[in-house]
Symmetry: D2
Subunit: 375 residues, 4 copies
């Protein structure tokens, strides 16, 4: 594989897999003078940590992050920020378990395509680099982006807006912000969330899993971000989101509803508010021509149900090239949604920082006082 | 703007705008020994040419393409292929018309964001680089990609699957291929297409426009394409599709339906067919872990209704910074769908060729006999 | 080939070859509000036009450039600037001449490697894309960069400092600027230039050609340009310069002299001049750690003698794979130096603009007044 | 900074500085099925480790590398290879020492440009990311590239060919290979090496340091590598070499000698040897048109004398903006050459692997047997 770096100026590179020794993340393009602590990164990583509730896989990982470069006296120096997370799950037990069934692909997982691409050397252990564990590097990178965005007054929130067909009610940014971290599903509509959770637990009991939708909303994004024609911010965000393992679709604002309506019903009407152009509706999700228009960004990401089931499934033994049933697997996430929202959040954050850096310049993002500057 | 190149090894760079002198496209990464003619490109460009039916804008453009480099004796040489298309629409009339209203942004169009980004120097004429005319370069690039794919036995078809809420029936690749060029809407379900067209003409009479869905299907794509983790083929296709002007969402296979179902209902069951792994269903749209799995690629693109309306709309005069109504505009596409399918097709083609080139190598795509080769 | 784009934010993409129909150049990353005319580009292209003196090839090309996109009312719009130059040399005569000897490689030319890479489809006509004609796109791109740099107060001059072992005397930037366009060799030391020219004409009479050195000096470059660790400005300039056909080495400041001296003899001593850090000497050529230090950039480029000789040379017929003498060729440059200095200039200009754009941001280079800006 | 990734398909990303906690290197684009051990990397890192002889800085670093990802059962999996090296030098002592003089720039070092670029947050400790310690990541990346090249039969050797004006005699690849690791200077001409070492020790005693030249020779490189026109292999190698801290110039083959000779004296004459095109001389250093021609690559890199001197130097206090003498510093390399040759080697290796991967494809470099492959 040769696609483990994301971004043009703000660049996140990661490595590490399900049962390797460690996951490393290098964030290049971090401006100097940014306060950054292990805790700031840890807070974000903890959001996607397994084993937090009955909805997640019971895998035990502490996910302790350590920033090992790019810092001096608590502030970034402009040098790339490197971070390590060591895997601690009992490899002795689990690697052996995976080794025993390493020839067998799991429906809905990437093993088949990895075998095709990397042959018998493909990492068969816990999905290797195709594991959800890979998303840890994304969240670590996004956590650095978050600190940059906070200084710009840009807030990005990810939350579960739909689960197995049950939808949250429409809510304002403020209400979402107030409530979105209050349940295991990270759904800000607290009442509906209870129904969702109940439903997921019911699904889980049948050995099955549930799909859903993660929504990301961003407030305070200035108008004018993104580079026409191919690198519009809408396009790079779609790239980032669709590169996440379990995502099956992405839409902006009212998205696919566009297919059912007329132009008069769709166009967002501009008006003036205190001398600034605003829009009465936000069907476009904060974009015009793919460039930000100053309204909230709204990105909706379809999350497929966890492919790992506690139900026997038909499958293939790749070594013998014969059909073979895959046994029910108990250790799994009942829904991926609560572990995906921080990943979607992270990708959107990286994209915004990158676009901001392209427009305003590396030296001008988090612009510090600098008596010697010449640029 | 600084995003007018698409692709990593197979790279399409374009320039040109609605009312500039010409549109240029440079395709880098074209392998040597490929037969290529102006006609091959023209065929594709003609698909998106305006003025083909009552559904399109009556703008008069001949869109005559001329290949000016990268060729010798009818075959590509390995050097980049350059193409020119000169604009021929009456600039004397239309530039003046646009100049008269240049301060006024049009709802749903990119003018506002272009003003914010490029100031008073933003090209106010016919949407400038944000015009649909820009997509001509995409189609020209995709036409080169098409010739490469044909030699690989890969076929990519774009068609309108839904218009203003009216959906075509499910069809096989073969049936789609047989019928998709038979009506102005490029919808392969001929009966439903008639209803769609009737409906669009009705909408048009009210001064309004209609949204829809363009579907792209690709057959013959080998398993194993795309680069984990950030440059999975699914991600680069999403990037390409969401960089097109009027697209508001993209989904793969059953896409957003994932949100309503369980893992058991979603997973595509693998089986063996003549010693090859196949899948009984294709909810994933031809991907596993974002990498192609050998099944048909299915990409669904939401197309918003044309924002230009023959209805008066509220808007803003950016010079005076005051609200001002925008007059009804008669010259416009009643639906963008029939002009968007070749663009979506083109982006998917470019992405497949690029992924193929990364995997197999520039020198091995369209691998010619070469007695002197050493690599 | 898949390397016809140069730069990260300020990106020049070109196509076209010795005997194709036209050469196209697309410059992406051009800021809005820049005055730009065909004449400004033409002035630069004319510097490298063949047939200007007895030192050059007598090939007849008018090299008329036409800007076809990215402009409105004489100013750039922020959209990519596209340029065309049509080849006008008598193709009927010359293509036939080349066809007659198309199997035969020419010593010192790229035909052999092109055959190896592109097989029998390699363009055999006048060196195809490996021809010096390719450099026209570089100069066109550099001409756009020049306009940006002039607004920043940055001047970049290229000139011939050495020819066939004859060296010009040391001169100040001011004196170089005053004199460097005064002779056909573009050597600012007017007396020595006469000797050089005399010598070249003598060499030419023997059927031979002469090598030399092109020096590029840049004044007004702010300190702090370039991105550690791999994209230091010194590194990207080396990349740009060494990508030019006939260059065999590049050094910065005193360059290779570093190998003969001690640290005490080499280090440039910093001092304060009106509160600003300056350096008493400039052995480093304007760099510290590969980043600009505010002193003049000095780049020295070794130019090999034109490989085309009016002397019979031993060579190979690639078709028959047998040794075969290559006849003397009369139409050729006696020295490449006077046609290379604008190309070296151009590459340095592009690199500086790109680094400036990365540091300061696309939206902040040639920053125009913009009441609507939000970034 | 935003330039810490090198390469297009084979990509090395690194972070870490002189006195950070650790240096991380992520190598993306590693093909599956490559045997790789910590020892293989360690062998290369040990070449550039400080404190190996009287010629180097006495800094104590063990430079123990640990591969933490991209492996399964001793073979690469296709996933990116991550490596850690923890700094062990006594930070308690040295950070304090640097803190005491942190406002003072050192002549010939990058501090000044880092202050200008990163302001007061620039890492003042031991040159931070501008330290030679950064090169450790390059060597780690190059060590992975080396394993790929060995399987291709490509050997790359770096050695010191000149020191403080004393030049080694011309030697064959075989003789260089036999002798180049036999002395602390890594100069294969053993007799001359003794003189060089004697000279350096004499220079060192005066508190001074010596410059020199590192030569890199590569054997077995197939013809046809590199991508015209901007990414010729010669250009990417120049980029890589000139991105190394102390390099002041780079030339290929006879390089700058081109300036003194005629075309007849310069052109390498092609001939046939067992049906294969060869060249009687190698003045071009293995390139034609910037593309490899099948002969040995020869790259010569000018290395400036260590800027750190045990002699008092004039300098600047950046805080007070006043001139201030810099005290003599005892802990330093008497010459950088013996620590630079592995770095130059590494950059050349990366460039060759990258070019090979672009030409032949990621999936075809170290092509393993793979029954499931479809590409």
């Amino acid at each position: 594989m040769t696609g483990n770096t994301f971004g043009k100026l703000f660049k996140v590179t990661s490595c590490g897999e399900s049962y390797g020794k460690a996951l490393l993340t290098i964030v290049d393009g971090v401006p100097p003078g940014l306060e950054l602590t292990n805790e700031m990164i840890q807070t974000e990583l903890d959001k996607r940590k397994p084993g937090q509730s009955a909805l997640d896989s019971p895998r035990k990982e502490t996910d302790i992050v350590d920033i090992v470069s790019g810092m001096r006296d608590g502030f970034t120096t402009g040098a790339p920020v490197g971070m390590t997370v060591y895997n601690v799950d009992r490899q002795d037990i689990h690697v052996k378990q995976y080794r025993d069934v390493k020839e067998q692909i799991r429906p809905g997982h990437a093993e088949y395509t990895f075998f095709v691409k990397y042959g018998k050397y493909a990492d068969w252990c816990g999905a290797g680099r195709a594991s959800g564990r890979e998303s840890l590097g994304r969240v670590a990178g996004g956590a650095v982006a978050k600190q940059i965005l906070l200084k710009e007054g840009i807030e990005v929130l990810g939350y579960v807006s739909e689960s197995h067909g049950i939808k949250m009610k429409p809510m304002t940014f403020e209400d979402i912000k107030k409530n979105y971290r209050k349940n295991h599903l990270n759904c800000p509509d607290l009442e509906t969330a209870e129904k969702m959770i109940e439903d997921i637990i019911k699904v889980k009991k049948t050995g099955d899993t549930a799909g859903g939708i993660v929504e990301v909303i961003a407030r305070g994004v200035p108008a004018g971000l993104g580079e026409p024609v191919f690198d519009k911010l809408r396009a790079t965000i779609a790239h980032g989101i669709m590169s996440i393992g379990a995502i099956t679709g992405v839409e902006f604002g009212a998205g696919f509803k566009a297919a059912n309506v007329t132009g008069y019903e769709w166009n967002d009407e501009p008006y003036l508010e205190n001398g600034k152009v605003r829009f009465r509706t936000n069907r476009s999700g904060g974009f015009l021509g793919g460039i930000t228009n100053g309204e909230n960004l709204i990105i909706r990401c379809a999350v497929k149900p966890t492919p790992t089931l506690s139900i026997q499934q038909k499958s293939i033994d790749m070594e013998k090239m014969e059909e073979k049933d895959l046994e029910a697997i108990t250790r799994r996430d009942a829904t991926l949604c609560p572990r995906m929202y921080p990943v979607c959040e992270a990708m959107v954050r990286m994209c915004i920082v990158d676009a901001l850096m392209i427009a305003r310049g590396y030296d001008n993002v988090n612009r510090i006082e600098n008596p010697w500057r010449q640029i």
